[in-house]
């Protein structure tokens, strides 16, 4: 990390520094992006819900939350009932309330959009209800069934793994929840922008869910090969793989090894785990390569850390971006410049340090060079297929093939979440995978 004095000497000098902003500015920048509703706000917003018949919002929710019911219960001051409605369909309803691209799911189809141009703020209402019960024991909402004596290994403590473990534990099974990292939570803990999960929510939610009992956490446990998986298969009645997608693939262009080129996922994880964001170095000029939520989270947080210029560069047009419109607006509101139709051709360096990125215009009209002190790669992740080689699992495009209930080609081995082929890599879809797999595992173990 360089300790260059501000202002930077020249545009070409690498300028990567920490403590670009005051403590107060950092606190404000990384504060809760959509603070919890007050009761008055919640009740008024709840009143906007029309309690639709066969509600489109509930059908748009990958976990099928009965949205009109929980909103009506908020309006009637029955927050426990509201939370039970949410969590019965989605045990990670608190995270999803914060992380879901609701404008592309429940809120997109809210009939109030047609009528008033503005949906009921379902996500914020959901957070209000779930937050309200998290100071009570989870078992007051979901008592655990009698122990079955069956043991299930869940590998990967992200949203799919946690949901699966919780749903299995509810049904009385014993679960060992494995994770390679020193903390559980997966992308909830390491992969979402800090301002979405302020106040250590991912850990609080996990702790709350673990109160159900019957779930043993085994951290720092790496799945490295098929033999290890086989050991799990032998030691447990079933194995659920929710290992996510570990590896960010190479861009395959010159300059990728230069200092200052980083994996956006790692950067976000580092931010989430940082005790003091002021300690994190950030470039004065940052280029983020990619067009998804991770690219937005990395770009916005670069700005929040104090980067002066942040360019989010995507090789295709706006329609192809997986970042939602409101995510893109959020990035732009935070001063991120979004570029389209530019494919990275080379990361240009000087003395081993990144200096710029050279892009090729998609329309063939030539090249564009964007100066950068740091470059973040946010081009999606892939499974390390070496890990599963020889396991009998079938992979497609770097992901495990499994049906909607998580059943794979191998008996008693199930898979879900991002490592399963198909879907949009949404937290809420991962939860649904875990929930369905738990039901399938329960059915198979009870058979």
């Amino acid at each position: 990390m360089s300790e260059l004095p501000a202002p930077p000497i020249a545009d070409t000098a690498p300028d990567i520094r920490s403590a670009r902003r005051s403590a107060a500015e950092y606190a404000q920048a990384f504060a809760d992006v959509a603070p919890r509703y007050t009761r008055a706000q919640a009740v008024v917003e709840a009143e906007r819900c029309l309690y639709c018949y066969d509600a489109p919002c509930a059908k748009a929710c990958p976990t099928g939350i009965d949205v009109p019911s929980f909103i009506r219960r908020i309006a009637e001051d029955n927050l426990r009932g509201a939370a039970r409605t949410i969590l019965a369909s989605n045990p990670l309803g608190g995270t999803c309330a914060r992380a879901c691209p609701t404008e592309e799911l429940c809120e997109e189809v809210c009939v109030r959009v047609a009528q008033q141009g503005k949906p009921v703020e379902i996500g914020r209402l959901q957070r209000y209800a779930v937050d309200a019960v998290m100071d009570r024991p989870v078992t007051t909402l979901f008592p655990r069934a009698a122990e079955t004596g069956k043991r299930v290994a869940v590998v990967g403590a992200g949203p799919a793994g946690i949901a699966c473990a919780f749903e299995l534990a509810r049904r009385g099974h014993a679960v060992v929840l494995h994770d390679a990292r020193p903390a559980a939570g997966g992308l909830n803990e390491f992969g979402l922008a800090s301002y979405k999960m302020a106040g250590g929510f991912a850990q609080a939610e996990l702790d709350w869910l673990l109160q159900i009992g019957g779930i043993e956490l085994r951290l720092g446990w790496h799945l490295i090969d098929a033999a290890q998986l086989q050991t799990l298969q032998q030691g447990f009645d079933a194995v659920y793989l929710s290992i996510g997608l570990g590896r960010t693939p190479r861009l395959g262009i010159p300059g990728e090894e230069l200092a200052g080129v980083r994996d956006a996922v790692e950067f976000i994880a580092e931010l989430r785990q940082a005790r003091d964001v002021a300690q994190l170095p950030i470039g004065r000029r940052v280029v983020v390569i990619g067009g998804g939520m991770t690219a937005v989270d990395a770009a916005v947080q670069s700005r929040l850390l104090g980067a002066e210029q942040v360019h989010m560069v995507y090789r295709r047009g706006p329609q192809a971006m997986s970042a939602s419109l409101s995510e893109r607006h959020w990035a732009q509101t935070n001063g991120v410049a979004i570029h389209h139709e530019l494919a990275p051709a080379e990361i240009v360096g000087r003395a081993g340090q990144v200096e710029a990125v050279r892009f090729t215009r998609a329309d063939g009209s030539g090249e564009q060079r964007i100066e950068a002190d740091m470059v973040f790669k946010a081009i999606g992740q892939k499974l390390d297929d070496a890990v599963l080689a020889g396991s009998g699992l079938v992979l497609q495009g770097g992901r495990v093939i499994a049906d909607d209930d998580g059943r794979t080609a191998v008996a008693r081995v199930y898979a879900g979440g991002d490592c399963r082929a198909g879907g949009r890599d949404l937290t809420v879809e991962a939860v649904q995978d875990g929930k369905r797999a738990a039901a399938a595992i329960h059915a198979d173990l009870s058979a």
Binding site: V44, L50, C52, V111
Partner: protein, 437 residues
Amino acid sequence: MADLRNTFAGITSPNPFWLASAPPTDKAYNVHRAFEAGWGGVVWKTLGEDGPPIVNVNGPRYGALLSPDRRMLGFNNIELITDRPLAVNLAEIREVKRAWPDRALVASLMVPCTEAAWRDILARVEDTGADGVELNFGCPHGMSERGMGAAVGQVPEYIEMVTAWCKQHSKLPVIVKLTPNITDIRQPALAAKRGGADAVSLINTINSIMGIDPATLMMSPSTDGKGSHGGYCGPAVKPIALNMVAEIGRSAQTAGIPISGIGGVGSWRDALDYLALGATNVQVCTAAMAFGFKIVQEMIDGLSEYMDAMGFATTAAFQGRALPTVTDWQYLNLNAVSKAVIDQDKCIQCGRCHIACEDTSHQAITALVDGVRRFEVKEEECVGCNLCVTVCPVPECITLRTLAPGEVDARTGQPVPAQPANWTTHPNNPMRQAVLA
């Protein structure tokens, strides 16, 4: 520009919006402010007989039925009549009337049921220059336990007796304020008329309990653990009051007696309801207590704009116009047939019409058409009940269409008769009248 000037029971005012006898009209300070804001008249908060002052509870006097965003739908109070000395009120009435000669200033009165008590207070009121008196036979709480207010208003003979005393001992116009806490409003109205009343005003408040506190399971609001029923008013009571106004207006025995409409007037639209059903003016309290006196300016402007748009020069041009459209059920045309029509361009797909009809009415609205979410009226099931219209969140998305004579009603398979027919001649009516050949 519409002329809003108003004459009610011989009392003139620049507009038909008066403040009702209530907390807002308890003293000169408020009434001056009300007149500055533009109110056409004020009925001073009820005066009692001279003597030890009235005492009120020192806890909550008011309770409310609120919408989730805390708009006042209904309002309730247990405040008694004025707790200020009679002499102070009378001096202030005199002073205010002198300051505002063009405004109506009426004193509301409530004294024990003796001729002497009424005679005494009438003389003192008349001396102030007040324009008239309103007899408070309606207050349903507290005072009624002492044989006044609603206790008088619930006994037509008492109404007639006291009204007659007032007419005998005063030259001031006498307005009798009626309680709705009775079974047939025409009886007290008729009694007032027999007693010689110049007008009636209605409704006073309705006996009511607002609810309980879920944490304590105590009546709410309460004072030191107990509450008593209060008088209910505000927007929620307007339909009840309108019916009573119309009942008086269309009863042969009471028709023609001037009416001051009271109950849930918060806008010019509410006032229009009363005037079109025969009231000469309206009195307002809850809206002023919720928003302050300025609200009258929106009422005046709205009514004036409406009248200009409709070509009404004065309120007399439309007063009572809707009254002939109110009738008894037996006279409704049973041959008229309506069907709901859903404007698909306006429909937002909430499905409320479907589920309301499916669960609670006539199963006459689809949810799916060819497997697609779509809400359409099944005319062969629709009875035109209007439920879907009332539950639809989009204005004018669902309307009722009246079938033309000769058009086939898909529900009955019969053409709509050109001639109206009602229950009085219906073959199913054992009491039917013979149809004249």
